[in-house]
C-alpha cells in the first residue's frame, strides 16, 4: 500500500521558478521528524517551568523547582534550582553525616581517639582529606615536606615538640622560625669553621682542625649559637631551634649534596644568610576546633608521635 502511495504521488514544487526552469521541490517532512520536533517543543516548555530559564529584568525566571538547604550559619535557605545550591545541599548532608564523628572527636581525649579502632579509621580518612586541603600545599600530600622550605612531618624529629598538646599548639597559633644572618657578625673563615663543626656533629666528612675551632666559636659569645641550639647542639623545642646532631636536615639540603665539600657548603649557606622563611600560619579561626583536633591526631600519627 505504501509503495502504491509513493508511486501515485506527483512531485510537488514550491511554485517558484528561477532562470526559466529551476524549481524547488516541496517534499513534506517525515512524520516521525515532525512529531519529534513537537515533542522537543513540549519538552522545552516543561523544562522552562521547572528549571531557571529566561533572563527577566535584572534577574531570571526561576522555575518551580526549589532547593532548600541549611547554610553554614544554620539558616534555612530556599533557592530556585541552581548547581551552587545543589552543592551546598550536598555539603550540608555530608556535614550532617560527619557530625556524630566530629562530636565524638570533641568528647574524647587524644589517647582515647588513638586507641579506638573505629575513630582511628575516621581520623585516617577525615584527617587525610583535611590535610590535603589545608596542609599539603606546603607539607606535601604525604607530609614529607620540602628540604629548604617546609619541615618533614613523617620523620621522628619535632621542631616544637611532638606531643599531642604541642602539635595542637602549633596548629592553633602557627609558628615562625627565625635565624639571623651571621655574615653580619662573623667573617667567612669563622662561618666555614662553624659549618665544619655542624657537619662533624652529624658524622659528615669534615676538616677536623676547622671543626675544633668551630666548636669553640659555637660556644663563644661572638657567635652565641648555643643560645638557641643549646650547649649540646641538640636544639631547644620551646623556641623551635633544630637539633643539629641528628641525620635530619630541614634548611640545608645536605642529603642532595653529592660530596662532603658540597655538604659543608650547604651548611655554610644557611649560617651566612640565616633564614626568615619558616612561617606557618595560625589555623585557629580558619578551621573548627574539631577539625584541628582531627589534624592534631593525624599529624601526630604521621611521624609516629612522641
Amino acid at each position: 500500500m505504501s509503495e502504491q502511495k509513493l508511486q501515485s504521488q506527483t512531485v510537488q514544487t514550491t511554485g517558484h521558478a528561477w532562470d526559466g526552469d529551476l524549481q524547488e521541490y516541496n517534499n513534506p517532512l517525515p512524520v516521525w521528524w515532525v512529531y519529534t520536533f513537537y515533542a522537543t517543543v513540549i519538552f522545552a516548555i516543561v523544562y522552562w517551568t521547572i528549571y531557571p530559564s529566561w533572563p527577566f529584568g535584572k534577574g531570571w525566571i526561576g522555575g518551580v523547582s526549589n532547593i532548600t538547604y541549611v547554610n553554614s550559619e544554620g539558616e534555612t535557605r530556599t533557592h530556585s534550582w541552581n548547581t551552587r545550591a545543589l552543592l551546598l545541599e550536598d555539603m550540608n548532608k555530608a556535614a550532617v553525616a560527619q557530625k556524630p564523628y566530629f562530636d565524638k572527636v570533641e568528647a574524647m581525649s587524644y589517647d582515647q581517639i588513638a586507641k579506638d579502632p573505629e575513630m582511628s579509621g575516621f581520623i585516617l580518612s577525615a584527617g587525610k582529606s583535611l590535610f590535603a586541603e589545608n596542609c599539603a600545599a606546603c607539607h606535601q600530600a604525604g607530609g614529607q615536606g620540602v628540604i629548604g622550605f617546609f619541615p618533614n612531618l613523617t620523620d621522628d624529629d619535632w621542631l616544637y615538640g611532638g606531643s599531642y598538646e604541642k602539635v595542637h599548639e602549633t596548629l592553633m597559633g602557627g609558628r615562625r622560625g627565625y635565624m639571623p644572618a651571621f655574615s653580619e657578625v662573623l667573617n667567612g673563615e669563622q662561618i666555614n669553621q662553624l659549618a665544619n663543626y655542624v657537619a662533624s656533629l652529624s658524622g659528615i666528612a669534615h676538616d677536623a682542625p676547622k671543626a675544633a675551632a668551630g666548636d669553640v666559636l659555637f660556644h663563644s659569645e661572638t657567635a652565641a649559637c648555643y643560645y638557641c641550639h643549646s650547649n649540646d647542639a641538640k636544639g631547644r623545642q620551646d623556641i623551635g631551634a633544630p637539633n643539629l646532631t641528628d641525620n635530619i636536615w630541614l634548611w640545608a639540603d645536605v642529603p642532595a649534596a653529592d660530596t662532603a665539600v658540597n655538604k659543608v657548603a650547604a651548611i655554610r649557606g644557611v649560617i651566612t644568610n640565616g633564614l626568615n622563611k619558616g612561617v606557618m600560619p595560625a589555623w585557629s579561626g580558619r578551621l573548627s576546633p574539631e577539625q584541628i583536633k582531627v589534624l592534631t591526631v593525624y599529624v601526630h600519627e604521621l611521624g609516629g608521635g612522641q
Binding site: L124, N152, T154, D155, D157, N247, I248
Partner: protein, 478 residues
C-alpha cells in the same frame, strides 16, 4: 506462513491472539512439575528462616546496604565477584551443552517467560474455560459476561504479577518486616519502584506479549541454530510417516485404519489440527523445525493422544534428530553425546563447577590488602634509621567477631611498630585499617629488598596469611 516484511501492510503486524487448548501427557506432566517446583522455590525461599548472629533470620538475603549476600551458611562479599563470573560462565555453558543435546529444553521447560506464561494461561483457562469457550468469548461483543471474565482474568494476572514483584524484593530485606512496611507505606521508594516495574513487566510479558517475547525480544531463540547439530534432539514431525505419498488426510470413512490409509497412500497424520491448537507460540510443527518453536513438547502430547485414540503407533511428532529422521529406516531416537562439541562443553562444565566448588569450599575467613605508603616512600630518622610505612586493610568474612594479630617475617622482630593496634578486632563483615611502621638501620635497610607481613586470626594459626611487601631506602633501585 511467514511473509516477508515487504509484503506486509505495515511495519507492525497485528498480533493474532493464541488461545491454546489444554492437553494431557508426559510433557504436560513434566512441565507442570517443573512449574510447581520452580514456583515453590521462588515464592517460598524468602520465607525460609535461618538463624544468624548479626543479620535477619532469613536463609537467602541479598543485603545490599551491608554489601553482602547471605546464602544459608555462606556469606558472599563483593570481593567474591569471581564466583558470580564463574556462575554465569557455568550457566552459559550448561545452556549450550543442553541445547546441543536436546535442543531448547531451557525455553520449553525452565525459562521464566515460559513458566509465567504457562501459569497465566492456566488462570485464563480456569476463568474463561477451554479453547472453544475462549474463542467464542473473544469473538462475542463486549457484554457483561465478557467484561466479567476478561476483567477477572486480567485482575488475577495483575495479582499474580504483584506477588511476583513483591517476592523479588523479599530477597533484599527481611521478608516479614518488608511485607508489613510495604503495605503500611513505610518501605523505601526503591521497593515500590521495583515492585511497580516488575508487576507491569510480568503482566505485560506473561499476559499480553507472551510468545512475542520469545519471537521478537529474546535473542536466544535466534542464535539457537548455531548450537544445533544434525544429531541434536528436537521436536520433529515425522513427515515421511505423516504425509506418505499423497499427504495427510482427515480420518473419514474408508480411511480410518492404518491398513486402509496405507493402501490409499495416505499418511498417518489425520490432520486434526490439535498440535496447532495446543502450541503456545502458535506454529504448525508440521512445517518443520522453525525458530519460533520453544520445544515444549505439548504437540507431542496432543498427537500421541490422537494416535492412541485411533490405535495408531505413537511418535508421529517426537523428539528426534535430523540425522536419524533422514535415515532410510530411522532408529529409536536417543541422546547422542559422542560429539566433540558436546564433550568439550561437558568438560568445560565439569572443570568450572569443580573450580567454583573448590573456591567456595576453601575460601579464607578474611581478606587482606597491604599497601606501602608512597608519599614519602621512606623517611630518614634522626639516628639515620630508615622508616617505611604500610597500610593494612583487613576484612572479616567470618560470621563472628575476630581478632587479628599482625607480625613480620624476614626483618628483626622489633622493627615493626603497629602503634596502638598490634592486634585488631573486627566485627563480621566489616573492615579495619591498621598503619604499620617498619624501622630498619641503614645497613639492614640496604640489604632488605622485601619482607613478609603476616596476618594471623587469633586462635587460628592455620589460617594465617602472608604478603610480601617492598622496603625502600635512599639510593636503592627498584
Amino acid at each position: 506462513m511467514q511473509t516477508g516484511l515487504e509484503d506486509q501492510l505495515g511495519l507492525y503486524q497485528k498480533r493474532i491472539p493464541i488461545l491454546t487448548r489444554s492437553v494431557k501427557g508426559r510433557f504436560r506432566r513434566f512441565k507442570t512439575s517443573v512449574l510447581v517446583l520452580a514456583y515453590a522455590i521462588y515464592f517460598l525461599l524468602p520465607w525460609l528462616p535461618w538463624s544468624r548472629l548479626d543479620a535477619p533470620a532469613q536463609a537467602v538475603l541479598f543485603d545490599l546496604p551491608g554489601r553482602r549476600f547471605l546464602l544459608f551458611g555462606l556469606t558472599v562479599y563483593p570481593q567474591d565477584v569471581i564466583w558470580l563470573a564463574l556462575l554465569l560462565f557455568i550457566a552459559a555453558i550448561l545452556l549450550f551443552f543442553v541445547t546441543g543435546l536436546v535442543g531448547r529444553a531451557f525455553c520449553g521447560y525452565f525459562c521464566f517467560q515460559t513458566l509465567w506464561t504457562d501459569f497465566f494461561i492456566w488462570i485464563e483457562h480456569k476463568v474463561q474455560g477451554e479453547r472453544p469457550a475462549r474463542v467464542r468469548l473473544y469473538r462475542q461483543p463486549w457484554n457483561r459476561e465478557k467484561l466479567l471474565k476478561v476483567g477477572g482474568t486480567h485482575a488475577l494476572w495483575l495479582l499474580a504479577s504483584l506477588w511476583t514483584g513483591l517476592t523479588f524484593i523479599f530477597y533484599f530485606a527481611y521478608a516479614p518486616q518488608l511485607l508489613l512496611d510495604f503495605f503500611t507505606g513505610q518501605a523505601a521508594a526503591a521497593a515500590y519502584i521495583t515492585v511497580g516495574i516488575l508487576t507491569l513487566s510480568t503482566y505485560a510479558a506473561a499476559g499480553l506479549m507472551r510468545e512475542q517475547i520469545c519471537t521478537y525480544v529474546c535473542p536466544y531463540g535466534r542464535f539457537q541454530s548455531v548450537m544445533y547439530e544434525p544429531e541434536t534432539l528436537a521436536v520433529h514431525y515425522d513427515a515421511r510417516r505423516g504425509e506418505a505419498a499423497r499427504g495427510r488426510a482427515a480420518a473419514r470413512a474408508g480411511q480410518r485404519t492404518l491398513a486402509e490409509r496405507h493402501e490409499k497412500g495416505l499418511g498417518d497424520c489425520v490432520d486434526c489440527g490439535l498440535c496447532v491448537q495446543v502450541c503456545p507460540v502458535g506454529i504448525d510443527i508440521r512445517d518443520g523445525l522453525q525458530y519460533k518453536c520453544i520445544s515444549c513438547g505439548l504437540c507431542i502430547d496432543a498427537c500421541n493422544t490422537i494416535m492412541d485414540s485411533f490405535s495408531f503407533p505413537r511418535g508421529l511428532i517426537r523428539y528426534d534428530s535430523e540425522k536419524n529422521l533422514a535415515l532410510p529406516a530411522p532408529a529409536a531416537p536417543k541422546v547422542q553425546w559422542k560429539r566433540l562439541k558436546t564433550i568439550g562443553y561437558g568438560v568445560a562444565l565439569v572443570l568450572m563447577i569443580g573450580y567454583l566448588g573448590y573456591s567456595v569450599a576453601t575460601r579464607g575467613s578474611f581478606d587482606r590488602a597491604v599497601n606501602q605508603i608512597r608519599q614519602p616512600l621512606y623517611v630518614v630518622l634522626s639516628n639515620g634509621d630508615i622508616r617505611n610505612r604500610y597500610q593494612i586493610r583487613i576484612t572479616n568474612k567470618a560470621a563472628q567477631e575476630q581478632t587479628y594479630v599482625i607480625s613480620s617475617r624476614g626483618i628483626p622482630a622489633d622493627a615493626i611498630d603497629l602503634g596502638n593496634f598490634r592486634e585488631i578486632t573486627i566485627k563480621p563483615g566489616h573492615s579495619g585499617l591498621v598503619q604499620a611502621s617498619v624501622r630498619l638501620s641503614p645497613d639492614v635497610a640496604a640489604r632488605t629488598q622485601r619482607f613478609e607481613l603476616v596476618i594471623t586470626p587469633q586462635g587460628k594459626p592455620a589460617e594465617a596469611n602472608a604478603e610480601y611487601v617492598r622496603f625502600d631506602a635512599p639510593g636503592k633501585r627498584p
